[in-house]
Symmetry: C2
Subunit: 143 residues, 2 copies
């Protein structure tokens, strides 16, 4: 076969066409240095779904997980309870591919626009973690 | 004039038709008791614009400001630097009228959908506080 033609068995043919591609986000050292981390070295990161605008979840990042998120194009958080880094969807398959990254006027909160793979962002199976409204009569306790 | 007819000079006629109406949000004591406040008694509150889905800002609430927000239908925060309650837009006129209120799966983050009055949510004059993207070359320092 000629030129750019693909053959059956090429890796490209085996990948589902819906698999998103991780894309690194450019950043400067001045931007990282400008971020205000709290007393525990953390900054809240809001995760919003690209296209729909749905707020999916909020997680915490330290400087290393922020860098890893920007460099890999996947969302990396710091778990305050488990005291370890975690990459969203690494276990569940519900991965997040970063499509935009911003910081607020005080540089003490981050906002990531992501392509959400799989069922969604919440460990309960809901697409968004914010599925319970005040006054809805839903079980109020943490799950 | 008869029945429900309005007369010129009625209060209703003097109000600009674009002024939003604050609407209290129903809640239960169990819902408030279920919210997890941090060691400083605070919980992050994400503010999203209704309709557009734009994430406008993130602020901190304690239990009292959360109750006040739900009861008045306007956003009330706790300022960690000034150590005082503040109602968004009370000085600037850029008020926020709550149209929805939710809490996440861990009940340690809140999400409010608001109708944003005036210029926007940011004290810089931008509509959203998240107007600076990583890699955009914008001044990274806090304003």
């Amino acid at each position: 076969m000629l030129g750019g033609s693909r053959q059956a068995g090429d890796t490209l043919d085996l990948m589902p066409s819906s698999t998103p591609t991780p894309t690194p986000i450019a950043y400067t050292e001045a931007e990282i240095a400008g971020v205000t981390f709290d007393g525990n070295g953390l900054v809240p990161a809001i995760i919003q779904e690209t296209g729909t605008g749905t707020v999916l979840m909020m997680g915490w990042m330290n400087e290393a997980s922020l860098r890893r998120t920007l460099e890999t194009g996947r969302t990396w958080f710091w778990s305050r309870s488990r005291k370890e880094y975690w990459c969203k969807g690494e276990t569940s398959g519900d991965r997040q591919y970063v499509r935009g990254a911003a910081y607020d006027c005080d540089a003490d909160c981050l906002l990531f626009e992501v392509e959400q793979e799989g069922r969604g962002a919440c460990h309960t199976g809901e697409r968004s973690c914010f599925f319970r409204a005040f006054g809805s009569g839903a079980d109020p306790g943490p799950r």
